[in-house]
Structure formats: C-alpha cells, structure tokens
C-alpha cells in the first residue's frame, strides 16, 4: 500500500469523523459515500483511480470556491436589486454565470486573446504542448488554444443566431395561434405535430444531404427543426394567458390581433420564454456540435468545437485527452446555461406560490 493511499483514506476518514462529531448531516453523508466509493474503486482500479478521484474532488472544490467568491463579489458590487437576486443563487448557478461570462469574453475578444490565427499553421501535426502552444497543436499543426478561442465565437455565435431565429418564428407563431384560435391554430398545430414526428437529428441529416452543408443552410435547417418545440411552449403559455379576463376585455374593446399578441400576451409570457430560450440554446448548440462532429455542420477551416473533436479523435486511442478539450468546452457551456436556467425556473416557480 502506497503512502498516497494511506494518506488518502486517513484524511477522508478523519473528515468523516469531524463531520459526524459536529453533526453536519449533509457533509457526513457525502463523505461517507465517498469512503465507500473509494474503497470499491481502490480495490478494483488501484491507486490511479484514487488519484483521479482526488483530482476530481480538487477540481470540484476549486470550482465551488470560485463560484462562491464570484457570488459574494457580485453581491458586494452590484446595486441592491441585483445583490438581492444573487443571494438566492445556488453555487451551481453562480458557477454557470461566471463561465458564461468567460465564454462571452472569449467570443467577443477572440482575436486579442488568441495568440495565433484561426487557420494559421505554426508547427508539426499533433505537436505536444510547450510554452508557445499551451495546449499543443492539432492534426495540421495549428494552435489548439487559438482555435478553441475562435471556436467560442463561431460555434456559440452560430448557435445563438439559430436559436434566435427559431425563437422568433416559434414564439410569433405560437402566440398568434393562441390568440387567433380556430382553424389557424388547428393547422399550425398539425404542421408542428408532423415536423416533430421525425427525430430532429435524423431530419437534419436528411435536409442537409439535400441542401448541402453551409453555415446558412445549417442555421436555417436547425432553426426550422427546433421552432416547433418553441411553438408548442409559446402556444401552451399563451393558452393559459388568453383565457384571462383582461384579454377578453381587450378583445371586446376591439383591439387588433397584433396589439393583443405584443401588448397583452407577450409581457406575461416573457419569463417562461426566457428560461426556454436558455434550454433551447443548449439543444441547438448540442445539435450543431453533433452535426459538426459528424462532419456535416460547420466546415473546415472554420474553427469549431464539434469539428475539432472529430479532427483530433484519433489521438484518443493513445490516451491523449486533446480531443476531449473542445468536447469539454461544449459540455461546460451547456452545463452552465442549464444551471442558470434551473435557478431562473426555481425563482419564477417560487414567485408563483
């Protein structure tokens, strides 16, 4: 048994006992489950697994600490309303918020942050990391880090645009269907049902085969395929609003459909729609990344995380984690958005009670 393992278990058990002694129920339960998992993992996988667990815990602790200090800083510097809001944020949400801000900065200032150009070949294929290229080179010898930064701009930008298009189309159609009712509502509902009867990814593959892969085609196809989901939500939300008496009062006043949709229904639908925007962005983002990964999305030499995973995939079999980095960048962003959306949904559901 190595010193590391002895120290590992000793520390863990000590922490367990401390938690037990001070009656920290949550901490005790977590720590003890960790002891069990570690015993099992240590037995099966040996020291290397334990080292991985330690790294994971350290990473988690670091992120939690970061999230905590970020939240507390925001509480200090924001005006009163914002500070009050931040106080209700769980650590996950504050972590998500921080990461989203980092992504936005990376996307906006990509040319300043990235040391090299997007398609600039500066070294041999799969060059190992050094002082110049902190993450090494890719299959053509381009700087991985630079491409990662530019990828934020391309991948996130395209996903945002796609979501926005899907959203405008879906929301306008959904709210109008609810307000107009009758056969328009029926027809739109049927169209949407049919569009949703084909799995989105499959449908996207089919359409992209036909229209060919370009950024514009990709954006339009994905927007078309995801707008039915937004339509459904907007229709459902608005469905609850149009039965309200104030809508009836406005109708009986003789207001136009446009006024009803924009001035009476939309203001009351913004909160659920905003949360939905976050969720849908995640789905769209994942779908675009998936298509890029399959080689049918954003085309080279444009830096894009999905394609970067695909281009570097061969390294996996050598135990290199290089292709995991862009994949992790995708996962981290979606997780962050989901965390923030989760928090938003929690707040809005709390307000209802």
């Amino acid at each position: 048994m190595s010193n590391f393992m002895i120290a590992y278990f000793f520390l863990l058990i000590a922490a367990c006992c401390t938690a037990a002694y001070y009656q920290y129920r949550t901490a005790l339960l977590l720590l003890f489950s960790l002891v069990c998992v570690s015993l099992l993992a240590g037995l099966l996988g040996g020291e290397s697994v334990l080292i991985n667990i330690t790294i994971a815990i350290a990473l988690l602790a670091a992120s939690a600490g970061l999230a905590y200090s970020f939240r507390e800083t925001l509480i200090q510097i924001l005006p009163r309303g914002g500070a009050k809001l931040m106080r209700t944020a769980p650590l996950t949400a504050s972590f998500g918020l921080l990461l989203i801000i980092i992504y936005i900065i990376a996307a906006v200032f990509a040319p300043i942050i990235a040391p090299y150009g997007e398609a600039e070949v500066i070294a041999g294929a799969f060059a190992p990391p050094d002082e110049v290229m902190i993450l090494g080179g890719d299959q053509l010898g381009r700087d991985l880090f630079s491409r990662l930064v530019y990828g934020a701009r391309n991948t996130v930008g395209i996903a945002l645009m796609t979501t926005a298009i899907a959203f405008v189309v879906g929301t306008v159609a959904g709210l109008s269907a609810a307000v107009l009712g009758g056969w328009i509502d029926q027809v739109l509902g049927r169209i949407v049902d049919t569009l949703m009867a084909i799995p989105q990814l499959i449908f996207a593959l089919l359409l992209l085969t036909i229209v060919g892969t370009s950024v514009i085609n990709l954006t339009l196809v994905i927007a078309l395929l995801y707008s039915p989901l937004i339509f459904r939500l907007a229709r459902a939300v608005a469905g609850n609003i149009v039965v309200m008496d104030y809508i009836e009062a406005a109708r009986l006043r003789g207001e136009s459909t446009w006024y009803l949709v924009i001035k009476e229904v939309l203001p009351n639908a913004t909160a659920p729609l905003a949360a939905e925007f976050g969720l849908r962005f995640c789905f769209v983002f994942l779908a675009i990344s998936a298509l890029s990964f399959l080689g049918l999305g954003i085309q080279p030499p444009t830096a894009d995380w999905g394609s970067m995973v695909r281009e570097n995939a061969t390294l996996i079999s050598f135990g290199e984690i290089t292709p995991l980095i862009p994949a992790a960048a995708i996962a981290l962003l979606t997780v962050s958005v989901n965390f923030v959306v989760d928090w938003m949904l929690h707040i809005s559901s709390g307000l209802k009670e």
Partner: protein, 318 residues
Amino acid sequence: MSGVMGLIVKRLGLGLVTLLVVSIIIFGAVEMLPGDLAQQILGQSATEETVAQLREDLGLNRPAFVRYFEWLGGAVQGDFGVSLANNRSVAEQLAPRFANTLFLAGLAAVIAVPLAIGLGVMAALYRNSVFDRVANVVSLGAISSPEFFLGYILIVFLAVQNQVFPAISNVSGDMDFGTRLYRSMLPALTMTLVVTAYMMRMTRAAIINLLASPYIEMARLKGVSRSQVITRHALPNALAPIINVVALNLAYLITGVVLVEVVFVYPGVGQLLVDSVTKRDFPVVQACCLVFAATFILFNLIADVGAILSNPRLRHPK
C-alpha cells in the same frame, strides 16, 4: 372497454397517418434536389446524354407520385431499392445493421430503465436531500454533455487507461452473445448515461407531481403508513406517467444512437446513415430516415396508448 378501444384505434390510425405524411416528406425532400437525382449523381461535367440515360435507368421520367407509391409499396414489403454507391440492395445492408442497432438500444434500455426509475423515485421520495441535490447536478451534467464527450471519456477511462472494454465495437452476426455483449458495452454505457439522466429527471417530476395530489394526503390522514401510501395509492397512479416517460426516452434512445455509433464505429443504422449522407447515397438515406422515423413514431404511439390504458378514468367509463 369499447370507449378505450375506440380511443386506441383512433390513436393508432393517427400514428399511421403521421407515418404516411412523414414518408411523403422523406420522399419529397429528395425530389426537391436542385436539378434532379441523375444530375446530382453525375455532377456538372456530365453530358446531356449520360444524364438522360441515367434518368431513364432510374425511372425519373415518370411522375413523382407514381414513383412515390412504388417506393412506398416496396418499403412496406421491405424493398428499399438499390444503393447508388455500390448497387447493392438497400434492404440487404440495412437489415443486419438494424438488428445491431436494436441490440445496442435494447442493451442500453435494459440497464437504463430500472436504474432511472429507481433513482427517480428515490429522488422524489427524498427530495431536497443530499441525494436529490447530487442527483440533480449530476444528471444535469450528463444531459448537457454531448454524447461524443461522454463516449470519449468512457474510452479514456475504461478502454485506454484501464483496458476493461474495447474502444471499437466491431460486432458481427456470427458472434456469440457474450462477446457481442462485451463489445457493445461502452456504447451502451454511453447511451445509458444520457438516457438515465433524462428518464430520472422526468420520473422524479412525475412522482413529485403525484405525491402532491390531495388523495395522497388523504391516505396519510387515514393513517396509512409511508410504504403503503407508495404501494397502494401512488403506484397504481404512477404507472401512466412512468410508461409515458419510458416510451418517450426509448424513442429518444433510438435516435441518440447515431452519434454513439459513430464514436465507437459500431455497425448500426446510425453509422450507415452518416456514411450515406457523406456519400450522398439517397436511397440509403431515405431508407434509414424512414426506419428511424417509424421507430420514433412507434414509441410515441406506445407512450400514448400506455397512458390511455393505465388511466383508471378511461378504463372504467361512466
């Protein structure tokens, strides 16, 4: 029961109509190609005569609806035409791969369904506990990760660093069940991760919704014990939402298979579809899409029919 049967027949009919419309969309999409199929296959440099010749061979001179019914009639009998890439029958290529895909999805479902329902019910019963919170964060993480990310992580840990399972799942028809299981394990686990997360969250929401019903409170106020409240009052009513959750997730599983098959080079329909899309092999693409769409519609249908059958209000009409 006639009311329920009526509802189910209606629902089945609607499913069939949907499938028909979807088949029209799939067929029509290829019709919308700029120029036509013959032009597409031969490219811009082809002469008029060769294009016309191919058009003749493929029967493109006949009206679209005639070809549609031929195509549909063939598809119903299991004949999807001939591949453009290698002139082999599409059905011949598709059949073994479809079996592989079903095996993979089935394996993932066998692991994921009990796991997800168990975890979901636990999270609902002990909501806001440590377990619930950890489960919430972990499942959110799994849902947010692209399938290929999870797949590669599993490869790094279970195939490269520790050689537990093979990274490449080359299964074939003549393999015995054990080997097949062993080779399909990593892709199945990847899919399990995603689907379990979804299913668990949906189960949790459904059960929490159920436990908030006044009749559950009533049962507790009659002095029924916690475990009996669950078995006698919650479970009979939980069946409907759980069947729904499972069927919807199996539908998702069938389509989620595409990415996972590519990551693990698993010889399934998803892999075939992606290959054919790259080669612009339209008959194969159409066939794969139709198969995926039909399975997807089928599971959504099962979800609806299950919901009808497990609803006591519909089972015992007035």
